[in-house]
């Protein structure tokens, strides 16, 4: 039992049994996280570098916690205060880190493909913590773990990803992973935020949230990236909220209990109403808890194979 790859770069093309193995392994780590001492020794003596070339709070903290709870030694840096600002290339930064005998690298970068590139130039195991608008595999894995935990299986589950799909790596990784696991995936958002030809990935496309709600088990609500609002992709936040914000009012059309997910950070009363984010439908905080367990599973599986 081991993963087919030495790296976790994305869920595109990852075999079903690998996803299954990660999700199953994460169950054991979830149990570890409920113990009084939340630390286990399998990565003792391994050194992991967290290279975050783009801002992140949740993901970086989650990875760091996961690493420390597996007893690895951890070094982290963010672009602020590192020599990246001095113009060093990604390759040189990576080489230098490797010269310090690092075993695993977790990388977040604004350029799609950064993790793939890194995996070709260093010997360490590379984990993609988000590369531009390409993939964010651990987020999708923790989403799938949370859904499987709540619904028992992913097979046949109807999941709709709502919001800015074009700029979302979370959406892409979720689509790849969920499709592999046999779920039905759809996307919903204004036409300006849904990439053309996304149907080719095997998803249904909707532009009206009220058509979607009666037919789904899960809404995965994406963050509206406020910084992109200036580009005029939708008229105003208020209008976005009126048409695509998930609210109690729209949820009244549901025919079954719907699970609401959000990768964070939430813009309350933009993509989701504040009361709904805190309601029993929401698994947003479970996602965060599960994120540590899922990342521990991936680190463990990659870090203990030769």
């Amino acid at each position: 039992m081991k993963l087919h790859s030495r790296h976790l770069l994305g869920l595109d093309g990852m075999p079903k049994e690998d996803i299954q193995l990660i999700l199953d392994t994460a169950i054991s780590f979830k149990e570890v996280l409920e113990r009084p001492i939340k630390k286990v020794p399998p990565l003792q003596g391994k050194t992991i570098a967290n290279m975050f070339f783009e801002s992140s709070t949740r993901t970086r903290l989650s990875f760091e916690l996961a690493e420390r709870r597996l007893s690895a030694d951890v070094v982290s840096f963010t672009t602020v205060g590192s020599s990246v600002t001095k113009g060093e290339t990604l390759k040189d930064t990576a080489r230098n880190i490797e010269a310090m005998k690092i075993d695993m690298v977790v990388i977040r970068h604004s350029a799609p493909g950064a993790a793939h590139f890194l995996s070709r130039v260093v010997d360490a195991n590379v984990l993609n913590a988000g590369d531009g608008s390409h993939e964010h595999p651990t987020q999708a894995l923790l989403d799938m773990f949370t859904l499987r935990d709540r619904h028992g299986t992913l097979e046949g589950l109807k999941v709709c990803i709502v919001g800015d799909v074009t700029h979302s790596r979370v959406a892409r990784s979720n689509i790849f992973g969920l499709k592999t696991m046999g779920a039905h995936v759809s996307v919903c958002g204004p036409a300006t935020l849904i990439p053309r030809e996304i149907e080719k990935l095997g998803v249904d496309v909707y532009h009206n949230l009220e058509d979607v709600i009666p037919n789904v088990d899960v809404l995965n609500v994406l963050r509206i990236q406020l910084e992109r609002q200036e580009r005029g992709l939708f008229p105003s936040l208020r209008e976005y909220h009126r048409f695509f914000g998930v609210t109690q009012e729209k949820m009244a059309r549901a025919t079954r209990p719907i699970t609401i997910m959000h990768p964070g950070p939430i813009n309350r009363d933009v993509e989701i109403s504040a009361d709904l984010a805190d309601s029993e439908h929401s698994v947003i905080l479970q996602q965060v808890t599960n994120g540590v367990a899922v990342r521990m599973a991936v680190l463990y599986l990659l870090g203990t194979t030769n």
């Binding site: 081991k2 286990v40 020794p41 399998p42 599986l301």
Partner: protein, 191 residues
């Protein structure tokens, strides 16, 4: 491959019975007693033992199962990754007299891993070790408090424990496995 029977189903049952009596005798009852089996076969044995003890003392004994994969000292050398299973100990181990159960005691490394794992879960007042078969060749200073049978073995041999719950039959066998002769020689020289 030569295969010698050490226990048949009836023998196994009697041995578990005897071990249950020994545990109760040594601990003067089941006050604060709890049983933890090492996955996979130690776990099944632990459940059988707990049931027996309950029959003897008419009091339930808490049972848990322990997965030691994360505590193994050979995690990184292995070609095949061992499957991670869950630890399920649903009682507080702090203050308990724990009887740690495994099927075969060999190098002692599994027990070392189990002890570390237990210490991370809580602070038992004491831990006792119970094994079905002690086959010798310890590499660590570890000794069983209760042993079903002491079987002198050579490193060439293998002890195979079969249990209904996993193998559809009860029985313990001694196998003469073909192993790399040189490796054994080196190991024997060391001891």
């Amino acid at each position: 491959m030569k295969k010698t029977k050490l226990f048949d189903a009836a023998g196994l049952r009697r041995t578990v019975n005897r071990l249950a009596h020994e545990v109760v005798e040594k601990n003067k009852g089941v006050e604060d007693l709890a049983i933890v089996g090492i996955r996979t076969r130690g776990d099944y044995l632990a459940r059988r033992l707990a049931q027996k003890i309950e029959e003897i003392e008419h009091k339930p004994v808490p049972v848990g199962s322990l997965d030691i994969t994360l505590y193994r000292d050979d995690l990184h050398g292995k070609l095949e990754q061992p499957q991670l299973k869950s630890t399920e100990i649903l009682f507080d181990v702090t203050g308990k007299i724990l009887v740690l159960v495994d099927d075969v005691l060999f190098t002692g490394r599994t027990v070392r891993a189990a002890l570390n794992a237990l210490m991370d879960i809580g602070r038992p007042s004491s831990i006792q070790l119970l094994v079905l078969v002690d086959r010798g060749h310890r590499e660590l200073p570890i000794k069983a408090d209760f042993a079903g049978k002491n079987v002198p073995t050579s490193l060439r041999q293998q002890v195979q424990v079969l249990l209904e719950e996993a193998d559809k039959e009860d029985g313990v066998y001694l196998l003469d496995a073909k192993v790399d002769a040189e490796e054994i020689e080196q190991k024997e020289k060391k001891q």
